[in-house]
């Protein structure tokens, strides 16, 4: 093709109508078709709620959800909305509900950790006055419950009764890479939350875009750290919408312990790092991979960059309001010095990340630049106009971005066309 799509043409994986970033009807359709549709959405890590009664407030798309470890150790998730008047039931970000009961403060309707209604005050009224009918059955007034499954400690939820099991949704390729990071027990190191005035799909494209890396993020080239000998790979899941990038060194001849020294020998930029410990990399997984960025549709990125480990959960608060919740972790057997090393490496990533902060700005620039551009299209043909599923070097292409749109468009069905017609 290689030409711009005509104004008003339907969106394709290579050319997406900018309307998708601004249209509130599309946003509503995404909540139905994607987040509440046939997908598994990331809710958190098992390591965040290790004990019975532990809970964590989270989101599925825009919907507030609570993830709970039940008394018997099982994982539960329910919509944080009282079945009586719709009030928020759980008002804390996290905690432990030792008795396993979640009570709405408004009229004290009480739910167990599974979300089942177990108590209603004055159900029979007071002194024979008021109360509910005899046929009122609490079982019919529970919190809205999600299906919950966990893979290697990453917990996902779904509203869909039909969707395949989580393992099949992730598929063998994605599972292989998740296994890599979660090869031993982890420990959560903390959180940061980044709030972008941009659409969630702009961030989803960004995390799948291997083209922008060395162009937007100028930290490495500025300090002369450019590694020609790097081996890279990009892999897509069958549906197109999950992908993973890895960058590693060729096996054999490289001493990773001297990463900082070597970086300086290869220096091309004029600035010099004062403290190279920032970049130090200590391989701890049985391979040479120093960068692993894995985007699992629709709502999470799993990463290992140097010795930083994190999930980035995408929460969709509105067409132009996206929250990125970073959950940083290390391994449970880390000693104090290893933890300090991870904290030092964490300067590279997150909302203040020396090699990543620009992503927040890029998302907002695209949101601002596409105002009033309904009917006009993006141009996503770097490296081809198809979606290649096979193993390929991560390079100057937008294969995984097209993969995202392929999966997205398939789930959205005719919702985009309906929205375009409605506003025409």
């Amino acid at each position: 093709m290689n030409a711009m799509a005509p104004v008003g043409a339907p969106s394709l994986p290579t050319a997406v109508d900018y309307r998708v970033y601004h249209d509130t009807q599309i946003f509503a359709a995404e909540q139905r078709n994607i987040f509440k549709g046939r997908t598994w959405c990331y809710l958190g890590l098992e390591a965040e709620i290790p004990n019975a009664g532990d809970f964590r407030a989270t989101h599925l798309g825009e919907t507030p959800v609570v993830l709970v470890r039940g008394q018997e150790g099982k994982l539960h998730a329910w919509v944080n909305r009282c079945a009586h008047k719709g009030a928020t039931v759980c008002r804390s970000l996290r905690g432990n509900q030792a008795d396993g009961a979640f009570v709405c403060v408004y009229h004290q309707w009480a739910y167990d950790s599974e979300g089942t209604l177990v108590g209603v005050p004055f159900r029979r009224g007071l002194k024979g006055v008021g109360g509910y009918d005899k046929d009122f059955d609490p079982a019919n007034h529970s919190l809205e419950k999600l299906r919950v499954e966990s893979y290697k400690g990453m917990v996902f939820g779904t509203f869909s009764a039909e969707i395949e099991p989580l393992e099949d949704f992730l598929g063998p390729v994605m599972r292989k890479y998740i296994d890599r990071v979660f090869h031993r027990p982890i420990r959560v190191l903390g959180y940061s939350r980044q709030y972008m005035a941009g659409n969630w799909k702009l961030y989803s494209e960004n995390s799948r875009d291997s083209y922008h890396g060395a162009l937007l993020h100028l930290f490495y080239p500025t300090f002369g750290i450019y590694r020609q000998s790097q081996d890279s790979a990009g892999e897509l899941a069958e549906q197109g919408f999950h992908n993973v990038f890895t960058v590693s060194k060729p096996k054999g001849d490289i001493d990773y312990g001297s990463f900082g020294d070597e970086a300086n020998r290869e220096m091309q930029g004029s600035a010099k790092l004062q403290d190279e410990r920032l970049l130090q990399f200590r391989p701890e997984i049985e391979d040479d991979v120093g960068l692993h960025i894995q985007s699992l549709f629709p709502s999470v990125v799993l990463q290992q960059i140097q010795n930083t480990l994190a999930t980035r959960q995408i929460v969709t608060h509105g067409v132009d309001k996206t929250e990125l919740v970073w959950t940083y972790f290390g391994y449970a057997d880390d000693d104090e010095e290893t933890t300090r090393h991870r904290l030092r490496n964490l300067n590279l990533v997150g909302p203040s990340g020396l090699i990543s902060m620009e992503d927040g700005e890029a998302v907002e620039l695209c949101q601002q630049g596409t105002v009033g551009a309904e009917g006009k299209h993006s141009f996503i043909e770097m490296g081809g106009d198809d979606v290649r599923g096979y193993y390929a070097p991560m390079g100057m292409d937008e294969n995984a971005v097209r993969g995202f749109w392929k999966g997205y468009l398939s789930l959205m069905g005719d919702a985009l066309a309906v929205s375009a017609e409605a506003s025409a």
């Binding site: 970000l93 996290r94 959560v188 190191l189 903390g190 959180y191 940061s192 939350r193 980044q194 709030y195 972008m196 005035a197 937007l216 993020h217 100028l218 930290f219 080239p221 500025t222 300090f223 600035a271 790092l273 004062q274 403290d275 410990r277 920032l278 929250e323 940083y328 933890t339 300090r340 904290l343 030092r344 964490l346 300067n347 997150g350 909302p351 203040s352 020396l354 902060m357 620009e358 927040g360 700005e361 890029a362 907002e364």
Partner: protein, 159 residues
Amino acid sequence: MSLVEPVLQGLVDSLNAAYGLCLDDDRLEEWPEFFVDDCLYQVIARENVDNGLPAAVMYCDSKGMLVDRVVALRRANVFPEHFSRHLISRAVLTGIDGDTVSAEASYALLQTRNDGETRIYNAGKYVDRLLIKDGVAKLVSRMCVYDTHRIATLLATPI
């Protein structure tokens, strides 16, 4: 605990006032000089501190790392153009141990981007250890514990 030590109080408050103005005047290259060489500077969410979790969004455990931050910010990083404005409370001295003082102060960091609107960008407190030498206070460690756990867009300029 709050200690009444007028001379030390004056030194700490003077440091904080100069520190805030240095950042707000965009004299970033001078900022590392508020620290001793073997320092620790952190910007960390209050939700982490309250839960005993160590992850910080900035963690610099040497003056060199502070310099690297500034060089990256000047030459590499891309972020919205903005002005910063620090409002820093009078410090509370929480401990004195030889020539080292512990102190805390609240801050509000306002940010004004190109649209001209001034927003409360980050609010929190400084938890500091300072070395008093030759009548001057320098930061041994500064932990910026922020209440505003939702960072707008990104955090480039130090707090």
